[in-house]
Assembly symmetry: C2
Homo-oligomer: 129 residues x 2
């Protein structure tokens, strides 16, 4: 997988969230957060197209862009890199820190983790030693 740069990831986020969009639409959304010229967004999306990070179809004289990579896959990929770089490969340390930092965990979320844990314990038991 081609690793997206920070600016590219920002655009992917918009496409994942909003679905297929024109440069104008993406630029408008980015513009809410920070100053960014139209041609800057355009150029980025053109580069992303070359790299295969997005697809695009013509719609009249404009283009409609869509993410070509799945959000989950990209997150996995970046997560792996981040764990290696920042937590020396220890996903557990990352998890513990993430859970520890964010006190505001809802009951539902806790349940979700618990069931995931339960699943992992099962796998533990079924694993041939």
């Amino acid at each position: 997988m081609q690793k997206p740069t920070d600016a590219e990831l920002e655009i992917l986020q918009v496409l994942w969230q909003e679905g297929p969009s024109t440069v104008r639409q993406v630029n408008d959304i980015l513009g809410r957060r920070r100053d960014i010229g139209y041609t800057t967004s355009l150029k980025l999306m053109q580069i992303m197209h070359e790299k295969g990070l997005v697809t695009r179809i013509e719609d009249g004289r404009t283009h409609i862009y869509a993410a070509a990579v799945a959000e989950r896959d990209t997150q996995s990929y970046l997560l792996q890199e981040f764990v290696d770089q920042t937590f020396r490969g220890s996903a557990m340390n990352l998890v513990m820190q993430a859970l520890g930092n964010h006190q505001e965990v809802s009951a539902e979320e806790i349940e979700a983790i618990k069931s995931l844990i339960a699943k992992m314990e099962q796998e533990q038991n079924n694993r041939p030693s």
Copy 2:
């Protein structure tokens, strides 16, 4: 906190792991993983010193560098940024994905998470609504 670049983080990792070290020592360790010139490491560490990411003391004609920022603090900071950028601020999604990706979770680690979860549930109950 000054955000370390990728190369700077790599050096911080060495200093955290090995403790105070000379440029030579850091460079040797980095050199195991990839080609990197001595003066490259030197320059990076000088820059980090200017930025306040490391401290250094003279020892004869060489310098001994030490991390000036705590590993935990830096991880927290970078984690927060990463969650925002990559998981749109949802630490839970990150946690779920991290747990899901890495099947190889030891029994001890599962216990650690469970007790953390238990602690969080307590806080939940004690929280004034």
